[in-house]
């Protein structure tokens, strides 16, 4: 393992008046060889129909982090020329990972149900109780890839400062219609972003994953991209520590406006090199409410 160029920040704030935070997130790794940056956020559906969605969201994040980690470990351990490796990884990323994630999520959710049974009847219904979205990303020196099921925003600041949302659905979804890991054939709705990094410094410099409790807090539709653009500026001008110190305040503000849990997990490539690699500040990691 080597220290990598990425630094992480993340946090989650419970929506006002909600009984508990139904979002979950994780952020780990440094982006050096052997330590891919893996980011994930999940937004449990929350409403009365999904009383166990906070558990579902945590399982989604955990399984995603595990599976992507395994995929990257495998890629590193097999002796294949780099050219072949990327092709194989692409196939796994687009084809296997979505299926595997959905299957492993279901398995763990049904295990949880076994341990803590409730009243719902069939397995289909049980799964819905845990319904959640998932948005995840991985960064290595060679690759940036991301996966999304349901709402949430992947916002990327490229090396040249341009901000984009590569996983934004082609058409806006209607109302509260949402895609969920709790639905049958959930893998079919997983969107995949695949972007090998062809030369050092050619990939993104900031990758931010957020739940819609953050994006819905802005009055304008492009609020979230402007927020992430601003985050990039802040990081460059004031540094990581300063941003970590204010992040939960920002998220709290967002949660007040959207009325929903607001969560962000981001990785930033520090142009000045590595400061303190590893996990974000624990005080920010803690889910404040």
């Amino acid at each position: 393992m080597s220290a990598g160029p990425w630094q992480l920040v993340g946090g989650s704030v419970q929506g006002p008046g909600k009984p508990s935070n139904q979002d979950a997130f994780d952020a780990g790794g440094s982006g050096g060889s052997g330590s891919p940056v893996i980011l994930a956020v999940a937004d449990g559906h929350g409403s009365a129909a999904h009383p166990r969605s906070a558990v579902g969201a945590r399982i989604a994040v955990r399984q995603f982090v595990r599976l992507v980690g395994e995929l990257m470990d495998t890629a590193r351990s097999v002796e294949l020329p780099e050219a072949t490796l990327l092709r194989r990884l692409m196939s796994s990323a687009q084809h296997d990972l979505p299926r595997r994630l959905a299957a492993e999520w279901r398995r763990e959710v049904l295990d949880h149900w076994q341990r803590q049974p409730g009243e719902a009847a069939g397995p289909e219904e049980r799964l819905l109780l845990y319904g959640t979205t998932l948005l995840g990303a991985v960064l290595t020196p060679q690759l940036f890839a991301a996966w999304q099921l349901g709402d949430g925003e992947l916002t990327v600041v490229d090396d040249d400062g341009s901000v984009s949302q590569p996983l934004a659905p082609e058409r806006a979804r209607l109302g509260d219609e949402t895609e969920s890991l709790g639905e049958a054939h959930a893998w079919r709705s997983v969107r995949v972003h695949w972007a090998p990094i062809v030369a050092p410094g050619r990939g993104p410099r900031l990758v931010a994953l957020s739940t819609d409790g953050l994006s819905k807090s802005f009055a304008e539709p492009d609020g979230i991209t402007r927020f992430v653009g601003g985050l990039d500026e802040h990081l460059r001008e004031q540094g990581l520590e300063q941003v970590r110190a204010v992040l939960s305040g920002w998220l709290g503000e967002a949660a007040r406006h959207s009325g929903d849990d607001a969560t962000l997990a981001a990785a930033w490539r520090n142009p000045l090199g590595t400061e303190q690699p590893g996990r974000p500040d624990e005080s920010v990691l803690e889910e404040s409410g």
Binding site: L67, A83, R87, R88, H95, E104, R202
Partner: protein, 447 residues
């Protein structure tokens, strides 16, 4: 998105034609693909290899393919080699035509994002088999058949094979290794002497056909569900060391899981025995013995017969692929109702005499390839249309055969009278009607 080539970058093909980069279309496993403007004002696609993939060996393959000048509308073939230029960075690429939008990739099919039909899928399979057969008959091994290369038109089953930059002359030892899912078991295991070639292509082709028809991988049954991580050893086991077909008649250890994989079990039941038998053979005996794999000509014969035996369910409207040799009707795979079989057109080709049996379902079409025993291609397009089943414009429920060819037919009725059917004319459909179609004879047979 930051690609390797900048918008507006100018490159020059090996033949000296200039192209200008317009935009990045997407990233793949080996390189990026750009839309470019060509010197004649047209547009083309430019594949540009990642540095790690821009090897001398790859360059040799691409230049060899360009020199081959392979003209076949089923392939997007490398048309011109494009060397590196100073300000576009290192590497190289090649030009190909842009893929028309009507062609869609298989992931969209697997994700149920396309509207298509049984006939279109069977047609796509037949076209795929013939396309690879055309390559193999020229001594070229494709070596890279997978769901990433095949694009098809969900409306009619036309296909386009893309990403042809790993094909080499048979026997060339250079290694490839895309996804293990499509690799022949002997290659996954790395058996001594095993090389990618026509025989391993036949395995990949069968996997691809199975996936197009069943939307599932033939070896991913419950054994795969029992694996909880994404690792190499598990894949080698599934695809190399101990591959078991989901529907192996003897070994039931890898049957589809009824909950997680119920759809594939249902799809399997929806296809006729003659087609299933080929899959069973290929994924049992053929897994172990490369020389026993189902050949393209076998797939072609089975697929075209099944295509001619598709009927629509009168109850739910779904297309059903019936057993071509069956005498009884069977039940609809969608709603379970007993199918009503329409009359059949039996076509006898000139020597070497062969018989083609076409169920006259609504909209049934007779194509030029139906009239010869060994057609070079099975084209289902309008240009090779001979006849079409049409409903009488003012008497619904009455059908006739419309002559869509450019020569007249002679009809012989059961009462011995004859009738000329000029191009554009329709002959009413009656059991016992015989038609002299020029090269071939046809007979209408009651269900």
């Amino acid at each position: 998105m930051t690609g390797m080539l900048a918008e507006g970058a100018l490159l020059v093909t090996e033949r000296g034609d200039q192209v200008e980069v317009v935009e990045l279309l997407g990233s793949g496993g080996q390189g990026e693909v750009y839309r470019v403007r060509t010197a004649d004002g047209g547009q083309a696609a430019l594949k540009w290899y990642y540095p790690a993939c821009a090897t001398a060996e790859q360059q040799g393959i691409v230049q060899g393919l360009v020199a081959r000048d392979f003209e076949d509308d089923r392939f997007l073939w490398p048309l011109a080699f494009v060397p590196a230029v100073a300000d576009a960075g290192p590497g190289f690429g090649y030009l190909m035509e842009l893929r028309p939008d009507r062609f869609r990739g298989l992931p969209a099919l697997f994700r149920r994002q396309l509207r298509t039909s049984t006939v279109a899928l069977l047609t796509a399979c037949l076209q795929t088999v013939e396309a690879y057969q055309a390559l193999h008959s020229r001594g070229i091994a494709y070596r890279d058949i997978s769901w990433g290369n095949l694009f098809f038109d969900p409306a009619n089953g036309d296909i386009l094979v893309c990403d042809n930059d790993n094909a080499v002359v048979e026997g060339d030892a250079s290694g490839i290794g895309g996804t293990m899912e499509f690799m022949a078991p002997e290659l996954v295991r790395g058996d001594p002497g095993a090389r990618p070639g026509t025989q391993s292509d036949l395995h990949s082709l069968s996997v691809l056909l199975f996936m197009v028809l069943m939307n599932h991988h033939p070896l991913k049954g419950r054994l795969e569900l029992a694996i909880h991580c994404l690792d190499e050893a598990a894949e080698r086991q599934l695809y190399g060391r101990q591959p078991v077909f989901m529907f192996d008649p003897v070994d039931s250890s890898n049957r589809p899981d009824p909950v997680e994989q119920g759809a594939v079990a249902h799809a399997w039941e929806a296809f006729p025995q003659s087609l299933r038998a080929l899959f069973v053979h290929n994924f049992t005996v053929g897994l172990r013995d490369p020389s026993a794999r189902v050949r393209e000509s076998q797939w072609r014969d089975a697929l075209r017969a099944v295509l001619d035996a598709v009927v629509e369910c009168a109850g739910c409207g779904r297309q059903n692929a019936t057993e071509p040799s069956a005498t009884g009707p069977g039940a609809c795979w969608g709603c379970g109702r007993t199918l009503v079989l329409p009359p059949r057109l039996v076509v006898i080709t000139p020597p070497p005499r062969s018989e083609r049996r076409i169920l006259l379902r609504r909209g049934a079409r007779l194509q030029q390839h139906h009239l010869v025993a060994e057609p070079a291609r099975h084209d289902y397009g309008d240009r090779t249309l001979v006849a079409e089943l049409v409903e009488h414009p003012s008497r619904p429920g009455r059908f006739g055969l419309l002559n869509r060819s450019d020569s007249a037919w002679t009809g012989l009725r059961t009462d011995g009278t004859t009738q000329q059917i000029a191009p554009g004319q329709t002959v009413p459909l009656r059991a016992g009607l015989e038609l002299d179609l020029g090269p071939a004879w046809a007979l209408v047979v009651a269900p």
